[in-house]
Every structure is written in structure tokens, then in C-alpha cells.
Symmetry: C3
């Protein structure tokens, strides 16, 4: 099977890599969206993601594919985190990273990620922390709202897009309309009055205010949809719950990028098909389904127009997750398109053209990269 | 691979063909359910449906499969709409069309479609326009309700079934019970009083009144479910939302045919499996998923009893959509059944029997065709 | 294709077999979840389950695979129910049955099933009948609640798990919290006052009281999720509706086993992935999808950790359903894992290890069997 050429990838949604070495427990905790240790008698290595890591990563550290987890962790420890990261990222075949810098923890910055990988890095600014940081320093409602407005404007100047986790903080079933200024002021007053320092934003009016503030900047806005960690209620992260917001925000000209989507990835594809400003992503959906990634990508590619589908890894913490996300994507796309070409459903030249669009071209067009870059 | 013989098809749900020539923009607009031009940098030809049209149609106009869209449109223009339609419909392999005549626009009537295709045509009457036309001429509530009752009875005499788009106009989460006469009168009064001429019906009581009026005629009732254009909210078109209506209407003996269903086609299959009067359709779900149509058909055929599954194209405007709907269905069905026969899961003689049922026999039994026909 | 070895199965969720001979109509009625005869012109043999029975069972009674249903029923009648059951169960390859004894009808007990099959049998106690039996004999609220508490404790002493059909009786969208004692007493008073003898429990407070009572025993708790007979509303049986209950019950240490799940099996897999005390089952999802069982199992195995996935047949009435459930599972699992091994995604030794876990090991660990047994 020689499939279509897939160019170096643009990973339009990922996070930083853990800076320091990880214990076996810490390593395993990055293989799951769970917030707890594996159930008695089980291990997170016994998942599609765990098997995918064991398939693709050991050879990059000089071991046999599918070697036992212990052997892999021993070798990784031996090399040290910097060298392991360098080897793994160097082999991922990713040319550009768009890094959501909104996660806490000892993670690499975009500049550090660029240095470790040799790739170009761009920033995606997460909205909710902008409000939380503004609240940490604001004395009153006007200074909070001013500070937040400035933070959004400043972020827009340096970043290539925004990201919202309103799906986690509230669910995607929020009121679709732009909140009135008085409503925002009143919500801000309530939130600031009751807020413990560092407390997360969960107020639905302020969450919506963030979305509309981002939409006004004209930058693309990424929205978490579908599965994630147990902080969210999955049935409230069905992207279809965004339908009325999608319609309401359309006149601003803001581009919406629906992340992950699984198991509602077909629903995300529908929105991308019928609304010109909506795009769909593969994200977590491929990494966590491993040997099934081709099937999940195929479902995503049913309704999503080929100019609307984007690649990402959503990798976080482990450099292994970039490798796995990229390998699963390349392999799934190649197998899928090759199959369609072989059965006569797709012409070979269009398969190659579409592969390049999904791998990189669509993201470059949507985010306008290369732009502000740390490379 | 020689699969089961698939007989000429009964397309139990389609619309008319555009009578006049189409600009490139107009042609492209029929390749999507979107109500807007394609996003900047994209085209609706870059979709599964677009690729399917390019695969199956150029050879019928004397071109290579997958020739560029421009070349295809040039050739189509050269032949003129009548000749292109004649060639395309003549090759679709469809023996009977059941035509929903409720769409506006410069579309062929069933009689014209029969003339252009050489197939038998039967009419499916859309319910909502009956109410809208009755309202256009009625002076008061009693004359509106009388006019509507007469329109339903008259339609039942000439048509082989009814269709409702309550999914678009309200969502499938309507109150399941038959509305009381007083409730209907009062809703009619409110609607007539506030209605601009030509305004669409969206009143939930009157929409339900239409459904129950149709159920009383004993004709099969088609219901739009699943995806469509952005007029609908997809999560309110899950056929499962009809469960209580399905139960309530069961004593009337009315047959319900759930159209499309995607991405809820498995849910439609469940309803067809547990309720004797419910049937499921493939419709849009195959045309718009193109190279993935076999997978979608396979999912539909999980729970749907084989005597309950119906073929349709939901084609509208472009004769290409009849060709693509029919080719994708025949190919998907043949591949699926052949695979099951080859692995020993299905016996060959039953595969052939089931193919004939889904292709034509089930629809003939459900709609009682041949009956009133324009052929 | 020589796949991984699959050991004798633990069927962690099934029911009894019909003790006496069955008419053709009665036999056919066990092939569907419908509560009515097949629609005119159709038969329940024309379903994926019907074809699967015709594939796997005739050879066990000395006939050709896929022989006509009449021939099969004639042969079955000739052998008599006891001999047919003996032959069929003897060939199912199931080592342990965990039998939900909560169904009424002339069905074998676990001891009788053990005798007929030669397998070890364990009991799963259905919760709702415990309340109904307690209500049948209780004079007042305190004696009802005492009787129920004793029934739960007694059941826990002899059974390996509990099962709830709250999905049928109410839907999974029940209030997640443990009901307060006063709330339970008041609901019991209302229910006992209005209850006709033998009436089913549908009161949401008492249904929740049963769930929490079971959770307190420390035994695994099976929950019906996904499709079933038309007593349920499928969209209210999405396992995700349990999310808040899953979180609320977590501190008790109770293990939750989500049965079936289809068409929400991916959602069940998500819950199993992120909550340590949640497990997912295949159940009905494989038997009723027949030739598609491999695809459905594959979807279930996307997010479900391999140590969290359990096999069951949910067989009921017909010994054929044990055979079909087991054959479809073994064949689907073998094909799936073999494919992954052949393409290099999974190592062969782990495929064999995981096959043994899903087939039997996970269930033995979760239920602590062998334990109280009727073998």
C-alpha cells in the first residue's frame, strides 16, 4: 500500500510537555482522562492509548515495539526527560504546534516546545484563566471588566486563536445570546463577592461574556466538545447543543473550531457541513481509540467538508502523546484514502490534495499561520 | 465479487428535478444542506457527496469518472438540462419514484419526472403546505379547519402517503397525544389572527393536528428525522423523541416511516425493531456520506428488521442526486451482503431475497404501489 | 486466521431457559424485543438475530447451517425441549452463568440451568421484585421497609451481585443523591396506599432507595442501559444520564456494571474509562446485531479499558440465545484482535491476555466467583 503523501503536520491544538522526569504512576496517569488510579487489577496501559504508546514509542528510544511498560519506563528514565522528549518530538513529523497555554503544571512553554522539537510554535489563549487572573487582581467590577477586556485584546495581539472550556465549566447548553452589559456587571459582582482566591470561573453569564469577547476579536475560537476528564458531563458536551450559539455568533464573522467531538464527532461534522464558520477537529478522538482511530476518522469524514477538518493531538504532558497522535492520524488517513482510491471511490490526485488539506493546509488557512511564532 | 441481484429500485422518498439550466453556483448549492456559500477557501465539491457525483455521473455524460467539476459543468451545459436529465435519470436504475410534492421552486411534477425517466411516479403529499394553503384562503377558523380536512381527504385519495416536516418546524419533541378539538380551534384562531400571507406553519398544536389527521386516513406517514438543512436543530430530530407519539398513534393502524435518521439511524432501527408500525429509511444518509455509505447502511441494518428497511434518494433539484443515491445504495448493499455471504454469516439465497426486499419489495408492500400512478 | 485462544466464557448476565416446548409463534417472539407479532409481511427471523440463530444452531441439532426456520423448528420439536436445550447449552462454551432470577415465566432456575449445561451457576438478584414482594406482604410502611432491608441483606448473602431495571421503570435520569429516610418513608406510604397487588414498582424515590441499599452491600450492581423492549424510552436509557449517580455512589465502593449500552455503548465505555468503579458489558448488543457484532464490539473497545469490559449473552428463554451470544462474541473478538495483531497494532501475547480478560477473567475478578454456586 503506497498511499497519498502526507506532509508535515500542523497540530492546531496541543499543550506543553512535562519538564521533569515522571514516576511510573505519573506516567500512567497521563494515559487516561480519569482522575483516579486504575481500578484494582487493571492498568491504564491496558487501553487503546496504552497499546498505541507501546507500539509507536519504544523504537524511538531504541527498544522493540510493544516491549513491556516497565522496560520502556526504565529506558526512558535512563535517557532522562530532556533526551526522551527530544527523540520523541523529533520523530513526530509535526511542523507547527498551536499550543493552548491555559493548563497549569510544570509544562514547557511554546518557546521551550519549539526548542525541543525544532517546530514552529504559536499560542492559543485559553479564555477562562484570563477572567480568573483578572479577578485575582481586580478591586471591583469595573476594574475586573476593564482588566479582562485588556487581557483579551492583548492576547489577541500575540496569539493565533482562543480556546474555551465552557463545556467543562458549565456544559454546552448555555444561553446562546450575547449577555447584556448590565447582566455581565451583575454576574461579575456576584462572582467577585463570593470568590475564594484562585477559584475557577463557572458562572454561565461570564463564560458567555468570554465567548463573545473572543468572537469580537476575529480570531478563531476553539471549543472543547465531546469527551474529556470526569470534570465534565459528557451528554452536556454534545456539540449540537451549540447550535443556537453557532447561529447567534455567525454575524461576528468568528470562526468556531469544535475540538475532539467523540462520541459526537458525527454531530460536529454536521455543524461543519451546514455552517460556513464551523470547523471540526480529530484531537483526542484518535489518540484514545488507538487501533480504532481509522474507523473514528472515517466517521468524522462523512459529513465534515474536507476543507473543514483539522488535525490535532491534544497532547499534554507526555511527548509520547504527540508521537501517537501524529502516527495514528497519518496511518488512519493513509489507509482510509488509499482504500477509497483502490475501490475507485476517490481519484488519487484528489486524495493527495485532501490529505494535505487535513494534515496542514486547512489549519494554516484558518489560523493564518505562519504568523506570530516562537520558532 | 458477484453479489446478490438487486432489482430496479423503488425510491420511496424524493423530490422534483430543476426544470431549467443551473449556474455553477446553483449546481454547487444542491451538493450541500447548508444555506450559505462554501466557506472561503473551500468548495462543496470537496465533500463525500461531491466526490460521489464526480465518480458516478461524468461517464453518463461521456466523460471520465472524477473529471474536474468545471469540465463536468461545461459538458452538462453543452447538453442542456433536458438531455442531461434524460441521460442521468435513464441510468439510475429506479423503477418507481414516490415524489414529495411539497417543495417550492421550479421543479418537475411527478408526471414530468415520469416522462423524463420512464419510471412510474406516485405522489407523497406534504402536510404542512396543506395547512398553509388552507389558511391562505380561509376567512375564519371553521372554514380553515373544514378546508384543511377536505384537503387531507382529497390528498389521501390521490397520493400513496403523507409526509411531515414537524422535525423542522418544531422538533420531534412535540406532545404525543391527539390534540383536543377545542385546543385545535384555539390554536387555529391564534395562528390565523397573527399570520402574514404565505407564512409557514410552526404552531405545535396544528402540526400535531396534521399528524393525527394523516394517521386517520390509513396512508403511510413519512417523518423527517435526523440531519437536514440548518433550519432544524439536529438534536431535536432524534427519532427516539417520537417514542411516545409512536405509542399513541399505534391504535390508528397508521404506518410510520422514519426518513434518513443519520446520525441517529441506529435509533430509528430500534424503533422499527420494537414497534410493528414503524419503518426506517436510508435517504440522505447514503448520498451525503459517499464512500462511507456502506458503513452507514451497515449500522442501519443492525436492528432494523429486513422487512422494515426502505430505500430512497431524497434527491432534489439535480438528476445527479438520483444517480448517486441509487448507485451508492446498490453498491453498498451488494458489498455488505456479499461480505456476509462470503464469511458464512448469511446464506446466499436469503441475501438475494433481502436485497430485493430493501430495494423495492418493502416499499411496494408498505405503500401498496403500483396504485395511483403518473406513468 | 488463527486468532488468540479464547477460554471458556463467564456469562455475567443471563436469565433462565424456557422449561417447556414452544410453539413457532412463541419461539419467534424470543427473537425480538418487540411486544407484538411481526408486522404484516415480515418475520422476526428476518433480522440479524434470526440469521445468527439460523447460522449457529442448526448444526448443533444435526441440520445444515441456515436451513429454513420451519425445518429447524420441526427438528427442535422432534428432539423435545430438554434434549434441544442440553445439546445447545452443551455446545455454548460457557463455563459460568450469572443468572438474573428476576424474570417471571416458566424458566429454569440457576440450579436447573447448571444441571442442563454442566456449567457453574451463580445468582444475580434483581432489586425491583424484592420491593414488590415486600409490598405484597407488608402491613405498613415500617414493616415494608424492614422487610425490604432484610430481603436485600439476605439476597447479598447468597448472590454474587444485584441488578436494577430503573432504566425501564423510570429512566436513568433519576435524582442522583441517596434519598433521605423521611423521603423514603413518605414515598413508601404513597406507594403502598395506592398499590394494586402485584403492581410493579415505578416510584423514583423507592427505585433510588433500592440502588443505594444495594450499593451499601458492597456487591457489584448491574444496571440496564441502552436498548430493550418497548417498555423503556431508549433516549432515557443513555448511560451518561447516570453520570451524577456514578459520582455520588463512588464513596460507597460499589462497583457499577453497565449492561448492553447499545446504541450508547461508546458512552458506557467513556464512563468505564474515567470512573474506577464503572464497568461495561456487551450483552444484547452482540446477539441482536449478528453479522455486525464485530463492529459493535470494536466500538465498545475504543474507550473501555480492557480490564473493564465484560461478556454476557443476556440470553432468555431460548437456549439458542446462549449459543448465538457466545459464538458471536468469540468470533467477533477473535477477528478483531487477529486483525489488530496482523497489522502490527497489538502484540500477539497481549491479544491473548486481553481475550482471556474479557472472556472470563474480568468477570471472575469483579464478582469474586467461584463463590456461592449451584454447580
Amino acid at each position: 500500500m503506497t498511499g497519498p503523501y502526507v506532509p508535515p503536520l500542523v497540530d492546531h491544538h496541543c499543550h506543553g510537555v512535562a519538564r521533569s522526569g515522571l514516576s511510573a504512576e505519573a506516567f500512567e496517569s497521563f494515559l487516561t482522562e480519569s482522575d483516579a488510579p486504575a481500578a484494582p487489577g487493571t492498568t491504564f496501559f491496558d487501553t487503546q492509548l496504552g497499546f498505541a504508546v507501546r507500539r509507536w514509542c519504544p523504537p524511538l528510544l531504541g527498544l522493540e515495539p510493544h516491549c513491556p511498560p516497565d522496560e520502556y519506563l526504565r529506558r526512558r528514565h535512563e535517557l532522562g526527560p530532556a533526551e526522551a522528549t527530544r527523540r520523541l518530538l523529533g520523530a513526530a513529523g509535526i511542523a507547527d504546534y498551536l499550543v493552548d497555554t491555559g493548563l497549569t503544571g510544570d509544562l514547557t512553554t511554546p518557546a521551550e516546545l519549539a526548542a525541543a522539537s525544532g517546530a514552529a510554535c504559536h499560542e492559543i489563549v485559553r479564555l477562562e484563566p484570563l477572567a480568573e487572573r483578572a479577578a485575582d487582581t481586580a478591586g471591583d467590577v469595573p476594574s475586573f471588566l476593564d482588566g479582562l477586556a485588556t487581557a483579551v485584546t492583548d492576547a489577541a495581539a500575540g496569539a493565533v486563536g482562543f480556546k474555551s472550556v465552557v463545556g467543562y465549566r458549565h456544559g454546552l447548553d448555555f444561553a446562546p445570546a450575547r449577555p447584556e452589559p448590565a447582566e455581565v456587571r451583575s454576574a461579575a459582582g456576584r462572582w467577585l463577592a463570593g470568590r475564594a482566591p484562585g477559584e475557577r470561573l463557572a458562572d454561565p453569564v461570564l463564560l458567555r461574556h468570554l465567548l463573545w469577547s473572543a468572537a469580537d476579536t476575529g480570531l478563531p475560537l476553539q471549543l472543547h466538545t465531546g469527551f474529556g476528564d470526569p470534570d465534565l458531563r459528557l451528554h452536556r458536551c454534545d456539540p449540537l447543543l451549540l447550535t443556537d450559539f453557532v447561529k447567534a455568533v455567525r454575524p461576528t464573522g468568528c470562526t468556531l473550531v469544535l475540538l475532539h467531538g467523540y462520541p459526537y464527532h458525527r454531530n460536529a461534522g454536521y455543524l461543519a457541513a451546514v455552517f460556513p464558520h464551523v470547523y471540526a477537529d480529530v484531537g483526542l478522538s484518535l489518540s484514545h481509540t488507538g487501533a480504532r482511530a481509522e474507523a473514528v476518522l472515517a466517521e468524522t469524514a462523512e459529513l465534515t467538508p474536507f476543507g473543514k477538518l483539522l488535525f490535532s493531538t491534544d497532547a499534554y504532558g507526555l511527548p509520547e502523546l504527540y508521537v501517537v497522535g501524529a502516527e495514528l492520524f497519518r496511518r488512519s488517513l493513509t489507509r482510509l484514502l488509499t482504500g477509497w482510491v483502490e475501490e475507485g471511490a476517490w481519484p488519487a490526485r484528489d486524495a493527495e490534495r485532501v490529505a494535505a488539506m487535513i494534515a496542514a493546509g486547512n489549519a494554516r488557512r484558518v489560523y493564518g499561520t505562519p504568523g506570530e511564532s516562537f520558532a
